[in-house]
Subunit: 205 residues, 2 copies
């Protein structure tokens, strides 16, 4: 089970991820070469390709870990939502956005999202896409939970609304990371305005 080979493999994978994470964040994804990561992780460039399909896949592995955390912290919002619909959505979305730039730069996000569109087939790209799907479902879950508690009008297609809310926050996040000088406050204000309309519609009669 924990033979030498297994341990070495796990260790190398960890070293590569740590080195890449630090280097990407400090110097930018584009500025870092595979050789830089390999050297920092004490492996050869060729070895790195035994662990990750390509440079982008390595980035998506890092970003996926971040999204896992976001998903986790979203759970508590769904479990104990504020009774106001607008506030609920704002809290969940705020949780998503707040986490987003803690470990990852805007450039890393841009590249990650670009890769997940352009090369959706690599292992970690698929994982990232799956996580995105889970986030979307979490928004749907929140709306259903609001309906269950009587905080939101029932008889409205929760999955469709949730999907729309998620697609919107995702697209707004893309606009946000596309502009290096756009502050988070602008993003929050814009999405609050958009969600206000959907929240109004969901408000119980």
């Amino acid at each position: 089970m924990t033979g030498l080979r297994e341990r070495q493999k796990a260790d190398r994978s960890r070293r590569i991820l740590e080195a890449a994470s630090r280097l990407f964040r400090d110097h930018g994804y584009g500025a870092i070469r595979i050789d830089d990561i390999a050297q920092a992780a004490d492996v050869s460039a060729g070895t790195l390709y035994n662990y990750f399909a390509n440079k982008g896949d390595l980035l998506l592995a890092i970003v996926s870990m971040e999204v896992e955390e976001v998903l986790e912290s979203g759970k508590s919002v769904v479990a104990h939502p504020p009774s106001d619909v607008a506030e609920s959505l704002g809290t969940l979305i705020g949780t998503y956005y707040d986490h987003s730039l803690y470990y990852l730069s805007k450039e890393m996000w841009r590249t990650a999202m670009a890769i997940s569109i352009e090369a959706p087939g690599t292992p970690f790209s698929a994982r990232y896409t799956a996580l995105d799907g889970k986030l979307a479902r979490q928004v749907c879950d929140l709306i259903r939970e609001m309906q269950r508690r009587g905080y939101a009008r029932i008889g409205i297609d929760a999955d469709a609304v949730g999907q729309v809310v998620f697609n919107n926050l995702n697209q707004m996040f893309i606009e946000y990371v596309k502009q290096d000088d756009m502050p988070l406050s602008d993003l929050l204000r814009a999405t609050a305005r958009q969600n206000a309309i959907l929240a109004e519609m969901l408000r119980p009669v």
Copy 2:
């Protein structure tokens, strides 16, 4: 005005665009090398870079022409919208989606959208982003026009709703081009379901 130099420049640009457009479509963006395009257009690789910032910028020039057409054909929908909100949105969005794969492959769209996120600064990337903004505004215009004609409830933030509708259709389109085997009918069905909710909200009292 129409000196030899000007004419040659325009001609070379056109030849490059035509060659690239055909080759990308027939063999895929990734499979085509700059040299292939240069040869087909009867220029050197270096010359190509006098006309386009890089390979991706060339693709975005091609995609932008397509979006211009989409925008143009959207105008007539906004000018003469059906009186039902859901039908209006469906018609406009159907126009967008229908055009989308006439000249461009899914791979071209994937790559184009990826580049517009990752490298928003190049000339044609900026142009593509601007066109995207115009499309979003066109959706807002449609909703405002519906309100003006009494086909949609007034007193609702048309710009916010329009932005949400557009962000949603954009994100759904991304999902669509990410999966090579997803038929257009699936995309239309999904967005129709989502827009039904927003249309219901906009329905005049």
